[in-house]
Amino acid sequence: MKITTRTLKTGQMLLKPGTRIENLYILQSGCVSICLTKNSRLIEVAKLFSPFSIGDEAAFGPLSWTSTALALRDSSVIEIPVALVREQLDKAPLMHRMLIKALSDTCKASFAELKAQRSNRETLPCPPEFTSKIFGVIFHTARILGTAGDRGTSVSWEAFRDYAHEVFDEPLHRLEDGIGVLLKMGYASLHQETLTIYEMKQIEAFFEYYSNSYFRSSNKDFLKTDPKSTKVTEEFIKVSNNYPTDRGGFAHLPFKATMDAMKAALGQSFESDQLFRLEQKGLLMKRVANAEGGTLSFYKPDFEQMILNWKVLKEIETWNENGFVNSEGSAGAVTLAIHPSAASQPAEVDYAAERQRFSALLTNWKPAASEGKVPQIRTETRKPEELWCPVCMSVIQKSWKSCEVCGNPIA
């Protein structure tokens, strides 16, 4: 019987319901979520951080494990065989054993109380009512504490985290995941404990858009992403690039030529209604009739900003579905390392280039078959525990509903 160390990747399950507990686990680093399953969804009961224990009740009697323990970050745990713990406790005086058992029983009772409270509320990692606050706090904390430079606004990660938590009352795990979304999108980087935010204006534009939409609109679908609307908007902006904008930022497009270009890009089934339906998503345009078939006018910066807003929303939707922010498998993404170890930290990383590559990849990616090309087949061997997307062969997680690279729905 010996004590061992084990590492967990983000999203990896440590324990599932029905597991026979043979080890007691003590978290050394990272974060593990204890969830219960309700209506096929995982509902978080508690987040555990270092040096919390899991499975300690097994040291005092048989334990029927009914929850799911899921790593929300790259984590490391110490595994201590339950038999070893029992052996040590049996040698200890009675009062010592009673006190340790009482501590374990108190934890068990507290967990049961939390389970009762939380199973009645369906809590998302990034609930809609808190989304604008998370990014508002990130923006303002960086603005208050950071130093603006050519590459972005830089701030000590520790000072940033403490200020956002102690002053603006933002929970640390949600703050870290919010930063994780920005890291994944290339809007921020974390290097040697310095957080640099590149797109402060973008973050401000996003949380202002979200808060105005959330508090004003009664339509719940207004803030949900829709791949069709995103595609139509992207193509519409591309078509508009062929025409100049006026001094006010407004583009004026000939209606007929625009519809022809949209059909060429999206297929003959494209109808002008799909364009006007963008109004339901807050994108307004005006059609003016004239002898040439009419003109479409719209404020181009609004449309471009909306594409970026939807990309952030999509990441938040993925975060809520998975329960965590996972930058693994996202090509070109900066590795999420909120608490990087010395060993994992690269010597020199050009984060600006990484961000640009990632942004370009997301913006420009198309299936090879849609461009008449032959798909590039991966040649390396798939690892036993890996799952690959059937379309783009990126690494996917079992819990995903769609591939994060190509958007293909996963059955």
């Binding site: 224990s53 508002g136 603006f168």
Partner: protein, 270 residues
């Protein structure tokens, strides 16, 4: 077979005790010198809030409570009251620490259990605090005044006499960006007005000329006063022991605290 603690005399440093229903085992703010192993009965842990007691959790037999000392705290964060007839073992803090550190493995497991209990209790307390009716509880003060300060400095207009904000848009920004209660914001502004750090400007109602004037602008005399207060309170919440001596609290901050206490007691700023 191990003997029952009831038949075996407890070691020195551990005292069996009994309490009747309603007896106070310890009070909030008292020194945390012992912890308690409950053998029978139920104990209620509650926190005083503006003259009322907010129950945080109940402790049942075979559980431990009053272990603030093991978590590094020096005073009780809540009061413990017997809900019914209670028997327990009172254990001196130093004795408990020596038991829980008797071997490296037991020390590691004990530390992880103590920290896990602290984390879970904080989560439970957080849920209970949501139903706290206190207008401005201590854990909300730093954020309230920080939001006031940062929203005013970001959205306000600098004037010779200080910083001015358009009240409706100021309130909207603070609510939508920081989820700060507009009612609490208004009361906090009234405290500043009462102490002479801000003035209000009312304007006629745009939609109904016969309606009473509405609050249009708030003129802050010196925003740095608000900043110094929330930064003081942030430090106070982290280390209340550093401010036991009232002379360590600036008069300006003391007067703000007095007004907040009056607000919590009466329900509004007079």
């Amino acid at each position: 077979m191990p003997s029952s603690p009831r038949t075996e005399p407890p070691p020195s440093g551990a005292q069996p005790k009994s309490f009747k229903r309603g007896d106070v085992i310890y009070s909030q703010g008292a020194p945390a010198t012992n912890l308690y192993l409950l053998q029978s009965g139920i104990v209620s842990l509650s926190m005083a809030r503006s003259g009322e007691n907010l129950e945080l959790m109940q402790v049942a037999a075979s559980q431990v409570f009053g272990n603030e000392g093991l978590q590094g705290k020096f005073v009780r964060i809540a009061s413990a009251v017997a809900n019914n007839d209670v028997t327990l073992i009172e254990i001196e803090l130093a004795m408990a620490k020596s038991w829980l550190e008797s071997t490296p493995l037991i020390k590691t497991i004990s530390r992880s259990l103590i920290e896990k209990q602290r984390g879970l209790a904080q989560d439970i307390f957080g849920i209970q605090m949501e139903s706290d009716p206190t207008p401005c509880p201590p854990e909300r003060i730093t954020k309230l005044f920080a939001v006031l300060y940062h929203t005013a400095s970001y959205t306000g207009t600098k004037k010779p006499a200080g910083m001015s904000v358009v009240w409706p848009s100021f309130k909207k920004y603070a609510q939508r960006t920081f989820l700060e209660s507009p009612v609490r914001l208004e009361q906090a502004v009234l405290i500043l007005v009462k102490l002479g750090y801000a003035t209000l400007e009312y304007i006629p109602c745009e939609t109904d000329p016969d309606a009473p004037d509405e609050l249009g602008f708030v003129h802050f005399r010196d925003l740095e006063i608000i900043r110094s207060f929330f930064e003081f309170f942030r430090e106070y919440m982290k280390s209340p022991g550093n401010f036991q001596d009232p002379s360590k609290i600036a008069p300006l901050h003391q007067s703000m605290l007095v007004e907040i206490e009056r607000w919590n007691t009466s329900g509004k700023v007079a």
